[in-house]
Amino acid sequence: MLAAEVRSGEQIYRQQCASCHGVKGEGSEEYKRPLTGDRSVAQLARFIARSMPKNSDKKCTGEDAQKVAVYIYETFYSKTAQARNKPPRIELSRLTVRQYRQAVTDLIGTFRGPAHWDQQRGLKGEYYKSRRLWRPDERVLSRVDPVVQFDFGVTGPEPNKFEPDQFSIRWSGSVLAPETGEYEFIVRTEHAARLWLNDTKRPLIDAWVKSGNDTEHRAAIFLLGGRVYPLRLEFSKAKQGVDDSKDKKKKKPEVKASIALEWKLPHRTPEVIPQRCLSPLAVPISFVLTTPFPPDDRSIGYERGSSISRAWEQATTDAAIEIADYVMSHLAELSGVREEAADRPAKLRDFCCRFAERAFRRPLTKEQKRLYVDQQFEKVRAVEAAVKRSLLLVLKSPYFLYREIGGSQDNYDAASRLSFALWDSLPDVELLRAAASGQLATRPQLLRQAERMVSDLRTRAKLHDFFMQWLKVDPVPDLAKDSTQFPGFDRAAASDLRTSLELFLEDVLWSEASDFRQLFLADYLYLNGRLASLYGVGLPAGSTFQKVSPKSGERAGILTHPYLMATFAYTATSSPIHRGVFLARSVLGRALLPPPEAFTPLPPELHPQLTTRERIDLQTKPHACQTCHGMINPLGFTLENFDAIGRFRDKEKDRPIDTTGSYLTRKGAIVKFTGVRDLAAFLAASDEVQEAFVEQLFHYFVKQPIRAYGPDKISALRHFFVDNHCNVRKLMVEIAAESVLQPSPARSVRKGK
């Protein structure tokens, strides 16, 4: 056989072209121009056939020309090939949507002071014996109530202290929103009530006029997760207005009174606002942006701001108007300048400077002060119009919208990198102060700040959001299940399960040890009364969430958490494939291609005698499937003890369940498991799992490719992680500090020039 006949495009290229054009098409002394361009494969092939190689009799023609064209096109010539070959770099990025929302809340918040969230839980309750809520002398009781859910009967909160037909109560404090989205607040009472939320003037719910038989009052409000909002609830059993009837003193019929304060988290079912989300402390109101934004690019696994669109540009304009309107309507409060102040224009100009500085995360240059503030005040006479123009310009400015622009790499950039890494938001006052005094220059200084910042509610919220994404439960999945097989598994149960998962994560991640391995190894879970009866655990019906350990060896942290088991399942049967894909992709960080074509799962009724495992084996038997399913299925099968709602079972169709499985590591070793505890032990100690987690956490927090921070960054961070007993909190601190210590793209470019 002649070698020439079977040569690949690469071989031909190396033999006939590389001497002039370079092995990677980079060019040579003689032919300096690199082989890059925008011709198509066909055009390239024609060109090659006509004229290549130059100065040689033996031309490259026909099929050979075609092969070479395909090879160079795909390897280095085309735009996509170039992009692929480029070394990862830190790209200029705009704020992501999450960052934008957090940043504008904090931008306005810095003019109000921080919200405190200490150890106290519940709401302050002030009880008045009459309808006169404003009279301190008629207050007969003051206490902290864990939740608002009372049935006062016909007498009142306490015997003999209240006038049965006219007492009133005020609850006040603050509420922590656990996640971002549209909330619904619900007040249930047969009497008058009103609720203020994140607004001290206008009530969110005004049912002070009792009218008709409505006993349920609802109102929706968009809240950012990980933030605390002021709340006040007033209740009155009394009639309002004037009663001048003659029989006023006559004994009135006895009337019952009750009240409950509930909420409905985004995509969840209503519940009494739990004690863990309430605090008796007063906090300032927060600005929450409601302008909708187009979603960020999440195509490579994490949201990033490396592209813009017309819709995004429009959203930043609409948002700038919303924010400026809000500031204008709270101008006296935020600027601290009274309307009648004599030097109001000068003071408002100063306020605009401070606003711009906080938005840009650094002091203004002379030029910036001129452009963003002074010039706006010189253009218009009305001082309000000048303020508004200045605000709009600042909010549309690249210095606000983009991250660390210009690459000055000073202490202010460091402050921004830290705060965006941990909070997705602007530096706080303390960070800016540290930056101003040059206290963010060394690694220990950065670590000190990051350690302070890591316990902030904003970091908790960011870590929470990361986990929801990592566990594939963002957006909230719809867990409708077969009601004949799983009676009692309704929307409320699904909603409770999500809470149960969140409590578990909170418990592991924010404990002292913050031990990542416990996510796999823990044998307990959080259940309340409703879930306990569903999962066969003995708890009194009305119980609130508490830690319970079902039979030993049954559960293994997130691996068996019923919320995830139910998510990775069909309505009636488990889904070893979904479970296996989750383990392979999220936990082990394996790249899996989507199936070559869409498959409908084999319906169980078609093979009534087969177990789930046997049915999956049957469907994925073809060789083409096994490339991926050879990894997916044996991982997923180890979880077959858990049915479509995550209940433990040891039999399916009266046959014992086979939970054996295996995994072929990247190093080529086959690991075998029987059941989930085996799997958990392997995953908890696996360097593949650690590395995948480090990489994914880094990407979510820093929003730049980790490889742009050096080829060894992943393994260095993994070693740090392992050396610190897989402490997630310490890892976040380390990642934040490391993201600062890298050269900025602009600087490396300048060096190159």
């Binding site: 200029l92 705009r94 009218s211 008709g212 452009l371 400015s397 210095y399």
Partner: protein, 439 residues
């Protein structure tokens, strides 16, 4: 989206591009939404505490000759005025007469039981149905030809900052009172805020481009692409803003006297500002239905500018024998009537855009009250004074009805606006249909 559609959006729905807008809007035939039928508008004006009948009602049925003292300000519009006597609010149930007076006035239906206690009556809550203006607005908004940006606008003057049965006249549905906007600056923002924003945006765009240029020079070539795209989007916005210049209103944005606080003594100025805004919003075709609520049922305006220091409600309880109180009440109602006359005058002076005649030729004003007479708290002979030619009613007359339920008048207004409903509010009061003799 039906309630918020702007004319721009409407035209966009028609498939007319932004570039064509400046030309199209200059053509009277397409410049405004409905050109086939004449535009019709309906405005309710409310003042509280009843009237002094002898100084209010004409003696006779038939063409209006002289007007009584309280109605004197309408003298210039006598030919376009229709006074309806004998229309009674027959709705009963929970609540005192002031509450039912305002709560059932435009809803024609009972109040829900509740916790608002007035005098010795049973306590009540909100009305159990929507008000006729909202019914008509919903009808107009459902049809693209009569749809406007807001549909209806609810103005107020010195409405107390307190939501209860006595302060609400307009209802979007059962238990859904709508608070009137009694701060002219707030109303201005609602009407023109977007235009002001565009003006501000336009002014900052050059500065923004300048800064984007500067920033571009300090980033790497690879990163520059992103900023160039950004600059291109900003340029697009600039061009769009240029193209959309002022087209949204078709007239100059009114200038408001700055710094007027919503306080009792500013009532005349606030009233004028609100009326001016209402006329402007009609000229811009922002809405076809509006209401203007002076104070509230039991309202306590102190008209010191008329040398009256007592509160209105307090005065209204004085007996007929108290000549001084009666004189003051006549003057108070005359002042309210002046407000209606000012609105009529402004409408008569303003040409109907895209058509012949004036705004008043296509607008009917309905001035009403929660009581017939203050010191008796009667719900009989509720004042209904109509001005303007918005509906095809025969104006310039006084009609005396034999104590007809006011639901029938509400029906007539709906029919007059092209909404032919069979009943409105409590159907028991509607069986005889719309009122006769109106057209």
């Amino acid at each position: 989206m039906t309630t918020n559609q702007t004319r721009r959006e409407f035209l966009r729905d028609l498939g007319i591009s932004a570039a064509a807008l400046p030309f199209i809007l200059n053509l009277p035939s397409l410049g405004f939404a409905n050109q086939r039928q004449r535009k019709q508008r309906l405005v309710f004006l409310f003042s509280p505490n009843g009237v002094i009948p002898s100084a209010f009602w004409p003696e006779e049925e038939g063409p209006l000759t002289t007007l009584k003292e309280s109605l004197k300000p309408l003298e210039p519009f006598k030919e376009r005025t229709l006074i309806l006597h004998g229309v009674c609010d027959k709705v009963r149930g929970d609540g005192d007469n002031h509450m039912r007076g305002i709560g059932c006035l435009l809803t024609g239906i009972e109040l829900f039981p509740g916790n608002i206690q007035g005098g010795s009556h049973t306590p009540a809550g909100w009305a159990s149905g929507l008000s006729i203006d909202q019914e008509i607005k919903n009808h107009l908004q459902a049809n693209p030809a009569t749809r406007t940006r807001f549909g209806s606008l609810e103005f107020g003057v010195l409405v107390p900052d307190r939501a209860d049965t006595w302060t609400r006249m307009i209802y979007a549905g059962p238990n859904k009172p709508i608070a009137p906007i009694d701060d002219p600056y707030q109303m201005f923002n609602k009407l023109y805020g977007r235009m002001k924003d565009q003006e501000h945006l336009k002014s900052i765009l050059d500065d923004l481009q300048e800064d984007l240029r500067k920033v571009r020079s300090v980033v790497s070539t690879e990163d520059r692409r992103l900023l160039e795209e950004h600059a291109a989007f900003v340029r697009e916005m600039e061009q769009e803003l240029k193209a959309s210049k002022e087209q949204d209103v078709g007239h100059a944005v009114p200038e408001l006297e700055p710094g007027i606080k919503t306080e009792n003594d500013n009532m005349p100025r606030i009233s004028k500002m609100q009326i001016d805004l209402m006329v402007n919003s009609f000229a811009a075709d922002f809405a076809r239905v509006a209401s203007l609520q002076f104070t509230n049922s039991v309202g306590q305006a102190r008209m010191r500018w008329l040398k009256i220091n007592e509160g209105h409600h307090e005065l209204s309880h004085h007996p007929d024998s108290d000549k001084d109180a009666v004189d003051k009440l006549i003057r108070i109602n005359k002042w309210y009537c002046e407000q209606m006359a000012y609105l009529a005058k402004r409408l008569a002076e303003t040409p109907e855009p895209g058509g012949g005649g004036s705004l008043l030729d296509n607008t009917l004003l309905v001035w009403t009250n929660e009581l017939g007479k203050g010191n008796s708290h009667t719900l009989d002979n509720i004042p209904f004074v109509l001005v303007g030619n918005g509906l095809d009613f025969k104006m310039g007359r006084s009609i005396k009805y034999p104590k007809v339920p006011h639901n029938r008048l509400l029906l007539s207004l709906a029919h007059g606006m092209g909404h032919r409903i069979k009943t409105f509010g409590n159907p028991d009061f509607c069986s005889a249909g719309p009122l006769p003799k109106l057209s």
